[in-house]
């Protein structure tokens, strides 16, 4: 026997146990919608995805691609943290927030042998990228699986592109902040898709997102989609107030790392520029000035073939037109279909918004570099996987069961074999060979360049070089303390002092690649690199060079008085 109290308006506590479990935390949109057992097949598919990602990204890792300038920059900043206890060996100008290279520094610090654990210092960070890629693959698989209601087709397709696309393998191997950022972003989303979004889960998710922002600022473009997902997951259908706290803690945790970064600038007296001057014709060391400067940097749109950096046509489409085309179409479908279904299933809309956020960032016409495409890869892969999943699910079960593996198998074979060229392609004489990432050695040239310097150049020489060899020349004895990159020699007055304040006569050697020379010319709009170009073009002779395909490296001895 029982009797009911007056005003029975609260929550039920006598619900069936299974239901109680599913509504745990009270912050679920609909827990059942997001919770699916992975099962043995799912675990196998997940293991395959992670292992294949590790294999494609680690095989030939130290040989291809060429060590990029930006890899070198982040390595030298990680070096500065470990060896000098500061954020950069040169003047830190707030061009990027430091969490990414702090993370690399922490990793390198743990390695026996530190920067030399795997030979060239950049290799140490590339190993970290592979580890992060394994983590990112796991997160992407789980995100796609939960977005497709436990299905395995979407995660398998998404991870296929994430792991095998040449575009992905090429850039994701590099020690770049974007790869670290993608890891944190995917972790943030993954945490929101756990069975139970409890209050402190929101906190961890927010913290991961905040770290992603201070790893690479363009992570902010993922913010709206992730927050929308959070607000849906924290939907308050049981009437209590957990939703408010969950949203607040996400926001708080996400903004805390950003606050810490701003605080760092404030404590250094570098939050605002001197005299509050935001005049873009003068450079200042200031966080807000740098943000202002970056916001006002413009170049021709991504779709302009004649811009100075037509990466869409020169770097991205040649590597993987299929991912870019299919991803764009899938993104549009996700947004349109997702908008219609958002009330019952926000997954498509979230995936579409994630991709759109970063696509908008790339397409809006600001200054971009070729590797800025990195965050687009997992989001496009996710959209493709989800659209394929929904398409097959719209078919009758029997048709879908037969058609899905056949179509996916054919497309995968097409992409892996010469037509797609993900794994195998035709060589210059028509023979079958492994795709470039697994076949072409490039970094040996940079290692030979370093070896030549060590053998022939006095350590006290004043060297203009590129950042990719900076740590190799500064961390291994004998060190070359007067080696600096052309970029820093052009922009940092402290560095320029090494070279007589910017006199070609005070340069002893110039160590470069053909890419570096192009970058010097591109960066010379204000004439700041001219004294180095003068030294190179009029006062130096090549003493070493090597060429492979379109890549040329060289060392020039400058004919100055000391020479």
């Amino acid at each position: 026997m029982s009797h009911s109290p007056a005003g029975n308006t609260g929550f039920t506590s006598l619900e069936p146990r299974s239901t109680a479990r599913m509504t745990r935390g009270s912050t679920m949109d609909s827990a059942r919608q997001w919770y699916y057992q992975r099962g043995k097949l799912g675990t196998f598919a997940l293991a395959f995805a992670v292992i294949s990602g590790v294999v494609t990204h680690s095989y030939h890792l130290f040989d291809y691609p060429l060590y990029e300038t930006d890899e070198g920059i982040y390595l030298e900043r990680a070096w500065a943290i470990i060896r000098e206890g500061r954020l950069s060996p040169q003047t830190y100008v707030y061009d990027h927030a430091p969490a990414g290279w702090m993370f690399i520094a922490a990793w390198v610090f743990l390695l026996p042998g530190h920067f030399e654990a795997f030979g060239n210092p950049v290799n140490s960070a590339r190993v970290l990228m592979v580890i992060l890629h394994a983590g990112s693959t796991f997160f992407l698989f789980e995100i796609a699986r939960k977005f497709s209601r436990g299905g395995l087709l979407a995660p398998t397709i998404a991870c296929f592109f994430f792991n095998f696309s040449w575009l992905a393998v090429y850039y994701q191997r590099m020690a770049l902040l974007d790869n670290v950022m993608v890891f944190w972003v995917l972790l943030s989303i993954y945490l929101l898709l756990r069975e139970e979004v409890r209050l402190f889960t929101g906190l961890w998710s927010g913290l991961a997102f905040g770290i992603s922002v201070i790893t690479k600022e363009n992570a902010i473009f993922f913010g709206p989609a992730i927050f929308y997902l959070l607000s849906r997951r924290a939907k308050n259908d049981s009437g209590d107030s957990s939703r408010d706290f969950t949203l607040f803690f996400w926001l708080f945790a996400a903004s805390s790392p950003v606050f810490a970064y701003c605080l760092y600038a404030t404590l250094n007296g570098e939050l605002f520029p001197p005299d509050m001057s935001f005049n873009l014709t003068h450079t200042h060391i200031s966080l807000l000035y740098e943000m202002w400067y970056q916001l006002h940097r413009n170049q021709a749109t991504l779709f302009n073939r004649h811009s100075s950096t037509p990466f869409l046509y020169t770097a991205w489409l040649p590597k993987d037109p299929f991912l870019l085309a299919a991803g764009t179409v899938a993104m549009v479908i996700c947004i349109l279909a997702g908008w219609r279904q958002r009330k019952v299933d926000p997954a498509l809309l979230v995936a579409g918004l994630l991709a759109f956020g970063i696509a908008f960032y790339l397409a809006r016409g600001s200054v971009i570099l070729d590797f800025y495409v990195i965050p687009l890869i997992p989001t496009y892969a996710l959209c493709i996987g989800l659209v394929a999943d929904r398409a097959f699910k719209s078919l009758p079960d029997t048709t879908s069961r037969f058609l899905a593996p056949v179509v996916c198998g054919v497309v995968a074979a097409f992409l892996l074999l010469p037509p797609g060229g993900y794994l195998i392609k035709h060589g210059s004489s028509g023979q079958l060979q492994a795709a470039d990432p697994y076949h072409v050695p490039l970094t040996f040239m940079q290692n030979e360049q370093i070896a030549w310097i060590r053998q022939h150049v006095p350590p006290n020489s004043r060297i203009i070089s590129d950042d990719d060899i900076w740590v190799a020349l500064h961390d291994v004895k004998p060190v070359f303390p007067y080696d600096e990159s052309h970029w820093n020699a052009a922009t940092d007055p402290q560095v320029r002092k090494i070279f007589g304040g910017g006199q070609w006569q005070d340069i002893d050697y110039i160590v470069l690649s053909n890419q570096m020379k192009a970058a010097m010319q591109l960066n010379n709009t204000g004439g700041q690199e001219q004294w180095m170009l003068n030294a190179l073009d009029y006062h130096s002779t090549p003493v070493w060079s090597i060429t492979r395909g379109s890549v040329s490296l060289a060392i020039y001895k400058v004919q100055n008085l000391s020479g």
Binding site: P5, T23, R198, S241, D244, Y264
Partner: protein, 435 residues
């Protein structure tokens, strides 16, 4: 020397941060749990347990009649409820008011109300409770304070919980209501809100719980077996909670907005400081008594210790505050040290924002309305309130060291009540009385 100073700053920052994070975790613990965990049942069992309500009162002329009337209106069979109004013999005013109300009830045929007058010492709440316990006859003993507005269904709630879950101790929710009365009342209200809504659940889960002072239900045989309340302790409720925890007794916490016992914020700052001083001093006494050492697990002992030491920590922080002002304006530290020393500020900010959200949650739950100006008021009052708490902690330490162990009573005015209905005086009127 500077390095030592920097290390000290970092150490304090770390300790304060850790303590603040832990506090924040407990503050929000319940929101991270299934909502049904702390709720009251929706369906009540038939009454089986009988209750003896102890109503200790001292100088409560203003509110005691209203409280007795409320107890007379509970939705439980009168023959299963015994109400004992407990007064010391020198409190003629309260005795007169209580007996007048009891007489009035007798004339209506209600014979289950009586007074318990004690003339021996000490004159304090635990002694009164022990005196009344000897006269209690029913299965379950419950304590209400003289100004409490208990929910009419509270006995049904506890009867059901005790029967269904076979627990012998139930702490039900207590909630201050008048969040707009004074500059500090919203913060005080929210302290209660988070304490009973969340922290109590954490204490109960760990199994080391300093119980609240009212709306606490004990199996009478159990309370008699452990010897009743400790009359030398100013926070006898916390002490008995830890004693029961040390015995391994499972304690159920029920917090459901619908069934909370409503109370009021102390009407003046002086009263508030006195009340807080008493609590803090009581915690210090419980700490020194060492009941917490008898808890079974290290986690329980750690939790109890951290809770009981908190007033002294707060006193130290009050002193540290002056030093931190000096460091903010007069000490140049390396950027990393300065950056790390800001972590507690960030966590304090999280605590404040949590409180602001809690204000909306509290008002929503009780059909009240929080406005942006109320949140602005919280922000303005936040820091002074912390200083008042630190002052009360320092005062408690000073009193304890000085051997001042007397009970500083908190005045009650019934500000949480509809005065016309309950016969309470108006807030201003009673403020004048207690000033």
């Amino acid at each position: 020397m500077k390095d030592v100073l920097y290390a000290g700053i970092l150490l304090v920052s770390f300790i304060v941060s850790a303590q603040s994070v832990w506090t924040l975790y407990m503050t929000l613990y319940a929101w991270d749990r299934p909502p049904s965990e702390g709720n009251a049942p929706d369906h009540f069992r038939e009454p089986r347990l009988s209750f003896t309500a102890l109503l200790p009162a001292r100088h409560e002329e203003d509110v005691i009649r209203g409280t007795i009337r409320r107890l007379a209106r509970v939705n439980y069979p009168p023959d299963m409820v015994q109400v004992l109004v407990v007064c010391s013999a020198d409190d003629h005013g309260t005795i007169a008011e209580a007996e007048a109300e009891i007489e009035s009830l007798r004339q209506q045929g209600r014979e289950n109300f009586e007074t318990v007058i004690f003339s021996d010492g000490p004159v304090n709440k635990p002694h009164g409770l022990n005196a009344a316990l000897a006269r209690a006859t029913n299965d379950v003993v419950v304590i209400f304070d003289a100004e409490d507005d208990m929910h009419p269904d509270i006995f049904d709630v506890v009867n059901t919980v005790m029967e269904e879950e076979q627990v012998k101790v139930v702490q039900a929710g207590v909630q201050l209501m008048n969040f707009e009365s004074t500059w500090y009342s919203a913060l005080n209200v929210l302290e209660y809100f988070f304490w009973f809504r969340s922290r109590m659940h954490y204490y109960a889960k760990v199994g080391a719980i300093p119980l609240g002072g009212n709306t606490i239900f004990f199996d009478r045989a159990l309370i008699a077996r452990i010897g009743g309340w400790d009359e030398k302790i100013l926070t006898e409720d916390a002490e008995i909670g830890l004693r029961l925890s040390a015995e391994g007794e499972r304690i159920r916490v029920v917090y459901d907005h619908r069934y909370v016992t409503k109370e009021e914020v102390p009407p003046t700052l002086k009263q508030f400081v006195k009340q807080r001083t008493r609590w803090n001093q009581g915690f210090i006494q419980v700490l020194h008594k060492g009941t917490w050492r008898k808890l079974k697990t290290a986690k329980q002992r750690r939790l109890a210790f951290m809770t009981l030491i908190f007033p002294q920590g707060q006193a130290v922080l009050g002193v540290y505050f002056a030093f931190s002002l000096f460091t903010m304006f007069d000490l140049k530290t390396p950027v990393l040290v300065a950056e790390l020393s800001y972590i507690p500020v960030l966590i304090v900010l999280a605590n404040f924002l949590t409180t602001a959200i809690g204000l909306y949650d509290f008002t929503r739950a009780h059909g009240l309305k929080a406005t942006p100006s109320a949140v602005a008021g919280l922000a303005i009052a936040w820091f002074p309130y912390q200083l008042v708490l630190a002052y009360a902690s320092l005062r408690a330490v000073r009193r304890q060291w000085g051997g001042r162990l007397d009970w500083e009573k908190t005045a009650h005015v019934g500000a949480h009540r509809d005065s016309a209905a309950d016969g309470a005086l108006g807030l201003d009127e009673v403020r004048e009385n207690v000033a």
